[in-house]
Structure formats: structure tokens, C-alpha cells
Amino acid sequence: MPKSLFQKVWDAHTVRTLANGQTQLLIGTHLIHEVTSPQAFGMLRDLGLKVAYPHRTFATVDHIIPTNELVEPYADSLAQAMMDEIRKNCAEFGITFFDRASGKQGVVHIVGPEQGLTQPGTTIACGDSHTSTHGAFGAIAFGIGTSQVRDVLATQTMALGVLKVRRIEVNGKLRPGVYAKDVILHIIRLTGVNGGTGFAYEYAGSTFDAFTMEERMTVCNMSIEGGARVGYVNPDETTFAYLKGRPYSPKGAEWDAAVTRWKSYASDPGATYADVMKIDAADIAPSVTWGINPGQGISITENVPSPENATSADEKAGIIEALEYMKLPAGKPIKGTKINVAFLGSCTNGRLSDFREVAKYVKGRKVAAGVKAIAVPGSQIVALQCEKEGIDKVLSEAGFEWRAAGCSMCLAMNPDKLIGDQLCASSSNRNFKGRQGSITGRTILMSPVMVAAAAVTGAIADAREVFSVN
């Protein structure tokens, strides 16, 4: 029977079936960060348990870490306490911790791949919903809650129900100015925010074949925004080339054996899927959200929807609520909406290729007067490489604040926050009410180059026009 990658990896990691019918699944690689792990270590202590496989858990700090303050103690004593806690827990339980001093710290979903920890055919868990990012390598990666973090620490396994697999095929060449971010915003717009519930997504098709690993990660990252717990791309030469020579990648003879094994996990031709969705790459345009969930998106050339055009009472109520919060006029173009803040970064779009692409376009330009623009590399390694290439200079000269690695304004658990009802053009992944740190703050999600276009014009803009892309 031909099988999908999901089935193969699931089967290979199945320990046994539990009494309630769920599977006890072995987790190969466990990633932790400071926000969702301390309570789990507390639970372990309460139960008198140890970490079963300390060498398979890796930690970093990202959510609370200030991006404009490098010296501890941090001004925010709660942030410092969380920092101290993860340090203490890692030391006590023998877990590798990519602290700032290691030069490898960063957003957990950027650090894993960078270190070569994210490998094809493996299972990965992390107490963070964007763990699906790691699926870009052909891993099955689950975002989990803290009790499950405890389970994985204590047993290297967790209890899970099997998922259905939906294959999403995107074929063809993306039009100029269209990015991986637009692909996933387009998909979520089609499925809605809960259309993926109960599914793992297998992304495939010639568009994905041509994508770099960073582009694949951007798409897999936001699988959860469409309700899917897992998203993955089958491993191929692009995957292996990325992994070769990374600190935790297999070396020497082991490398060849690993590649052979990794290849064997790829979905078989003829594998069956619960359903298949097909998208023509040429139909995807630079996209922006207009509402308060990532499914409320349009292409930059469209108008914001009107409640009158809603096809259901629910949709109508959703539009009214969103437009009221976003303070956007119904039925009008979104292009031209004034922005206050531009944010480049996050585990969706805080990688080297994102900053390279932006730098290419903003070189010699200036951030519009009155706009606060910040650029936050996703990891110290991304930061260093950008600095080597002079990208930090290009961005600073344009008027962006160049910051240290972290989640920053993606969820604003650190000092980077919107103020009042500021409108932010953001390369992050969530536009929920209050997401960026002000309870009336407004977020419009888009690709990094679209953020750059908004930053230099001071308004939501079509990057293709601003930067003469065609």
C-alpha cells in the first residue's frame, strides 16, 4: 500500500495504542522555550519525575527576550525571572540551552532548522503552535500544550489521535512580487481559519518543489492559522543541501545513510489522501489581511469586504466586528491605509532571505516620516549573517531600527508593543485583537517586501508599484 510521509513517520514512531484509542507517539526532538516550559518542569518536580531523554530536548529563549536590551538583569523583572527559570531548569535536567551567550539563540522555529536539529522523517514537538514550521523538512511537528511538554520531558512520548492528511498542491510559477507568505495567506483565505481542523497538510506541487527551505518554512509555519496542526513538504535535494554540514546534521558515512533513510520517508506515488486541494500559482497575488484573523485576507488590489456582500449571517457578523476593530471602511480599497508601525521579523518571516529581499528594495530609500519601523532578525545567526552582508546598514540607513533576535512585536511579550490603536504592517502570522501588545492595536499581515513598501510610503501599498517589480 503506498503511504504518505505522514503515515510512514507516524507508524515508525508509534509506541502503542492507549486505552482510549489514542496513539502513544515517540517524539524524536523536543524543543522548548521560556514561556510554556517552566510550568512543565514544575509538574515534573511535583510528580518526582526526571527527564527521560535530556539529550533530545533543546531549549532557547525568544518570547520574552528584549530586543533592544542586551545586558541582564532586564528592566522587566518578570522577563528576568523567566530567563533565570529556563536556565535553572536546563542546568538541573541536563538540557542543551541555546542562551544568548552561545551565539545560537533565536526564535525556536528558526533555531531548530539552523542547528540541523530539524530532520526529515522525525517527530518534533514544541510548546508552541508554530511548530508546524519544522514540517518544511519532512518532519511531523506538533505544537503542544504545557501538560504535553511535561509528558514529552518525562517519557519522550505523548498521547495523540491520528490526523487525516490533506494534500495541497500549488503548481506553476509565482508572479513577480508574490512570495511564500502570499501562498499561505491565500490558502488560509480559501480554507478559513478552521478548515484544517483534524488535518495534517502535505504541501506539494511544482511551486513547492521550486521553493527554498526558507520559503517552505514560511508556508508550513502558518498551517495552524488555517486550523491544521501539522504541515509538511516531502524531503528532496533542496532539503538535504540545506541540512548538509549543520551542527547537528549527521556526518561522514552517517550522512549518506541518513539521506537514504530520509528519502524513504517521502510520500509514495499513489498514496491516498483524505482530500486534495489544487491551486494555480498564477492566481496568487500579494496579499494582506483586513480583519482580526489570518483568514480575513484579500489581495492588495481588492477592496475590503462589505457586510452587505456576506454570504451568511456569521460571515456578516465577522466582517462587522473586524471592520469596527480595524477601523477600516467597508468596500473601500485597503491600499492607501495609513500605517504607524512596520514590523519585519518573526518565525514566519525573520530569516536571512527575508532580510536580503527587503534590503534589495529599500536600499537608498527612507522610511516615511512618522512611521516606526523595526527589523528583528529571527536568530543571532541570522543577525550575524545580515551584519556580514551589510543588510543591517542598509535597513538602518533607510530608517529601520535593527534589533537583537527574538519574537519581538509578533506577540509583544517583550518591550516591543503597539501603542493605542496604532496600525502595524507586519510580517508576522497573527492579527488577532490585541496580538501586538495594545488592546486596541491593529495588525495587517503581509510579506516582508510588502511591509517594506508600507514602511517607505507610510501606507498599505502594492510593493510591485512602489518598487517597480514586474
Binding site: V15, A79, G145, N293
Partner: protein
């Protein structure tokens, strides 16, 4: 580890209407700067219970008539967004023991079940009936029966549903998997030995 068998529970309810109520709404990120879950209860739905200046504004869960309610009623796609267990923990620590909604986001559902806080689904019109009964008399007692898969209130009965693995875990007192996972150790070692990246 002996866990309670959660076969049914009875309590008063409060209705928090809306679809796609996300985890940022349930517990804003700034309250996640904590190393334990204790004390999260007071921050549940904080940003919809307070104005931007932090003054209390009207919200169903703050109504005196609903004080002591243990069942939360809501709309579709409840708990979407992040995997933060802080969200179900905040709801639980605020005194809720069960949630009835049209449907739930995946991770939220699993996190809640592991806490022994049943998330059951009901048809929209049935949720409206329960909400109407609660509106008419906040003292209305609702019984969520996980064996018969029904909710009973004010002389009415409506159907509820729950994913079988979760229902089984709750009614049989194995909603927190940790004990069972630990018991599987011998099998874990066997499976790990077949995977080169783990055997190393």
C-alpha cells in the same frame, strides 16, 4: 495515578457569545509572564472585561448573577490560535469545569481534556436554548452527561457530542495520559531502538 471519572457534571452557566474566540482573547500574552499557572484565573478574557485604561467594563462573566458559574457556553472555533495551555488553565482557574461550544480548535481541545475539563459540542440552536434558559434564570442548573451525551436544563434535553477518545478518557478517569505513558516505557525503548536518530 488515580484520576476522577468524569461522567457528568452539573452547574450554572455563563454565555460568552462569539465565534473564533482565540487564545489571545482568552488570556492576553502579557499575562503569560509567569512560571506557574496559579493566579491566571483573574486574567481570563481580561481585555474584553476591561477598557484600554484597565477599568472594568460589562462582561457576562462579571455579572453578579453568574458568580460561581462552572460551565462556559460559546460559539464556533473556540480556542483557536496558540497552543498556550495558559488559555484552558485560565478558564479552569477562573472556576470553570466544562465548556460547551459549537466546535473547538484542536490544540485547545486536547489541552482542556488533559486538565479534566470537558469540551463538548452542541448545535448552535441548542446552545441558544441553553443560553436563553440561563438568560431567563441565571440560577438554571445544567447537567452535562458524558455517558448519555446530552445536556439537561430547565426541563429540556439537548444532544451534545464529544470526540470518542476524549470522552472515553474522561469517563474512565484517564484524561491525563502521563501515568499510561510512563507505563509504556518498555515499548518506548523498543521503538526508539528502531530509529537511528534516537538510538544514537
Amino acid at each position: 495515578m488515580a484520576l476522577a471519572k468524569i461522567t457528568s457534571l452539573t452547574g450554572r452557566a455563563v454565555y460568552v457569545p462569539g465565534n473564533d474566540i482565540d487564545t489571545d482573547r482568552i488570556i492576553p500574552a502579557r499575562f503569560m509572564k509567569c512560571v506557574t499557572f496559579d493566579g491566571l484565573g483573574e486574567f481570563v478574557f481580561f481585555d474584553v472585561r476591561h477598557d484600554p485604561q484597565g477599568n472594568k467594563i460589562e462582561h457576562p462573566i462579571d455579572k453578579p448573577a453568574h458568580k460561581g458559574a462552572t460551565i462556559l457556553l460559546s460559539g464556533a472555533n473556540f480556542g483557536c490560535g496558540s497552543s498556550r495551555e495558559h488559555a484552558p488553565q485560565a478558564i479552569s482557574k477562573a472556576g470553570f469545569k466544562a465548556i460547551i461550544a459549537e466546535n473547538f480548535a484542536e490544540i485547545f481541545f486536547g489541552n482542556s481534556t488533559t486538565l479534566g475539563m470537558p469540551c463538548v459540542t452542541a448545535a448552535r440552536e441548542d446552545i441558544a436554548k441553553i443560553a436563553a434558559a440561563v438568560e431567563a434564570d441565571p440560577q438554571t442548573e445544567i447537567t452535562i452527561d458524558l455517558v448519555k451525551l446530552e445536556a439537561r436544563f430547565a426541563g429540556q434535553t439537548v444532544k451534545i457530542a464529544q470526540r470518542e477518545s476524549a470522552r472515553d478518557a474522561l469517563v474512565n478517569g484517564r484524561w491525563d495520559a502521563i501515568g499510561e505513558l510512563i507505563d509504556g516505557k518498555a515499548d518506548v525503548l523498543k521503538t526508539a531502538a528502531t530509529l537511528p536518530y534516537l538510538a544514537a
